[in-house]
Subunit: 403 residues, 2 copies
């Protein structure tokens, strides 16, 4: 079956999603017997609905190669849940352009869309190969060891928290409690990664709170007070989606929460809220950083391993589609053994669609205020290159003369 390729990028942009796109394009170019045109949907599935597609073979190969080092979604992205009529429209547009290979790069919502397109094509007897390519900084797709996009965002956060932690440690007279709020719609994978900021025990972050563990305000205040009394400063990382023991989003109580078209709440404000709590209850001034977008998308601290795997996931999707596979998402499979090695695998789209992988219990400590060594062992190989070494003074004091 010979036809055209369509690539769609969906959901939140990342440092790695263009690397996957590059992998798809460069691999597709090798399959001239099966593949004619290579099209890019403008703003994901919206580009299909609107028949807005870019001819990617008109681009300079050097531009395609440079996608590997370009953050955000070069084709444009969207968050959009199709209506039934719109799925019908998709099944008109694809045949009109003889699109026979569809690659959807995105998270669990995207895999749901991909799954529906695959099933509808089968139902209508339109021969189409649909493959999902995982992408999410949230790292919450099931059935894959981790998700492209996550390693670079995790590396960014580890470096940012190490640097901001050194700042809080250094400046003695103000800002003794710092709360850094990370992204994470429902899961705490990104927040957990901030533990990599530590060079040695006692380094920031001192407390890490994930939404997987119900947040208890009173225990939190005890934790903060304990570290403050011991070290004289506290650096805390919290996930935007922290919940109480009834599963309610904590930040919701304070400010209106917007809901996007998939029904996900747009959160914000938990760090601000906790700063006020610390000030009111402990009488200690606390400040927060909310790095926001830059953590998910920036190429500043991209993980080389992460970018390479993102490329491989795109490439593998084309290889599998050309072999006849459809209705699958590419997975990353970590090989057993001491040395980190990762290969790609397949999982049915319907097994991934709309499901979420939370940080498992064995990665969270018993008190729910830190991660475990097991988590760090799992994470470390994804963060390559590792963090650069900073100067650590021995701190030999000059003998006092006045006392």
């Amino acid at each position: 079956m010979k036809g055209n390729v369509l690539i769609a990028q969906s959901g939140g942009p990342t440092a790695a999603i263009n690397s996957s796109c590059c992998g798809i394009i460069q691999e597709a170019l090798k399959h001239g017997e099966e593949i004619d045109g290579i099209y890019g949907a403008v703003n994901g599935i919206l580009g299909v609905l609107r028949e807005e597609m870019l001819d990617l073979q008109k681009e300079d190969p050097a531009t395609i190669e440079r996608l590997k080092q370009t953050p955000s979604s070069a084709l444009g992205s969207c968050r959009y849940k199709l209506t039934e009529e719109e799925y019908d429209r998709v099944l008109e547009v694809l045949p009109a352009h003889n699109v026979r290979y569809c690659f959807f790069i995105g998270g669990n919502d995207t895999m749901d869309t991909a799954d529906k397109v695959d099933k509808l094509a089968r139902q209508r007897g339109y021969e189409l190969r649909v493959m999902g390519v995982p992408k999410t900084v949230d790292n919450d797709l099931v059935a894959t060891d981790h998700c492209p996009g996550y390693p670079s965002a995790a590396r960014w956060l580890a470096i940012a928290v190490r640097d901001a932690g050194l700042d809080t440690k250094a400046i003695y007279t103000t800002d003794r409690v710092k709360i850094i709020e990370t992204m994470g719609r429902d899961s705490g994978w990104l927040t957990a990664a901030t533990a990599l900021a530590r060079d040695k025990p006692g380094d920031p972050p001192h407390l890490i709170y994930l939404p997987e563990h119900p947040f208890d305000t009173e225990r939190f205040l005890v934790d903060v007070k304990r570290v403050y009394d011991e070290l004289g400063y506290v650096v805390i990382t919290v996930c935007e989606g922290l919940r109480d023991k009834e599963g309610r989003i904590l930040a919701e109580s304070k400010q209106a929460v917007d809901v996007d078209t998939f029904g996900h709440a747009q959160r914000g404000g938990i760090a601000d809220l906790l700063c006020h709590l610390i000030k009111d209850r402990l009488g200690i001034k606390a400040r927060f950083d909310k790095p926001g977008t830059v953590q998910r998308v920036s190429m500043m601290c991209a993980s080389e391993v992460g970018l390479k795997e993102a490329y491989q996931a795109g490439k593998a999707a084309v290889e599998q589609a050309v072999r006849g596979k459809s209705g699958y998402m590419i997975t990353l499979e970590r090989m057993p053994g001491r040395k980190y090695k990762c290969t790609t695998g397949l999982v049915e789209l319907e097994r991934v669609a709309n499901r979420k992988r939370m940080v498992p219990d064995e990665f969270i400590n018993e008190d729910g205020n830190d991660v475990t060594g097991e988590f760090l062992e799992w994470l470390r190989p994804l963060i390559r290159p590792g963090l650069t070494e900073y100067a650590h003074l021995k701190r030999v004091f000059v003998k006092k003369k006045l006392g």
Copy 2:
């Protein structure tokens, strides 16, 4: 006069302050005839009051060298205004340790402290050489072309805003208005630097607001609406210290403002406030990023030119002190000519102390919502290496078949 050196780091940590410290130490080591010990005050002037000083000659030379690449203040910092009694104590501690060379690395508050120590030593007949080494990401010291610390923070912001801007541009269905809040106690130098994020006209940031220009809410809303209607998305950078035409801090009206011991207000919340304004008045959902600490301190995107100049400022301070100078701050002097070249100079501490350099009128456009080309020409040589090139697709559309 032979004696010991004392180095103190003060104010907000930066990517470059340890580079200046390294420059002082490595230069001091060359002057064995004048200099015995090299001490580091722990947490700035507080370390002097407490007689807490590190013997920096006990450190491994490789650790000292690594300071060049280590962010934050390795000696510890503080924000602290001395009382008269405490100045007396300083003039007891320094002679007790035969400190004859004092290097204060910091901003305008620090230069005030340095100036007072210098004058008090003269008054009491204690032979002491006091030199200031400029450091502030705010870039608001007078009499110097720019301040070490600023280039690295400016480079970080330019890259962060470029990446976050690409994110906002890409994701079609949500987050169409993004406000990024930068630091800047009173001046807009950091906010202004975000203009470097643009590869071409029309790129984010579309609107830039500095505290030097009175903020007019109605004009702001007109600006936002115009860009939104034209491009479909808007990226705005604002300084935390934006003021109305009466000179009042805008964010003060919304939340309590803490005041540090120098009487400076600790600001926050302007971006959040403007998001609510846009939603209420224009009916458009807006979101904000507040990167916070990482922008001032991170080594992620450090400017090589900036780190080198920070080192040179430290080195020059020692050279001048050994030659007999006291009561001066090192300045950076930009040489005339097309090719960027910077050398060091001197200015009396009292001319710098407690004064602020605002972004001049010729660097701000007439509408007060952007910077001028003249500013970018001034800034660009400080940001080295420049920003990496990203992939820019030609975007050749596939011909529509359905319409």
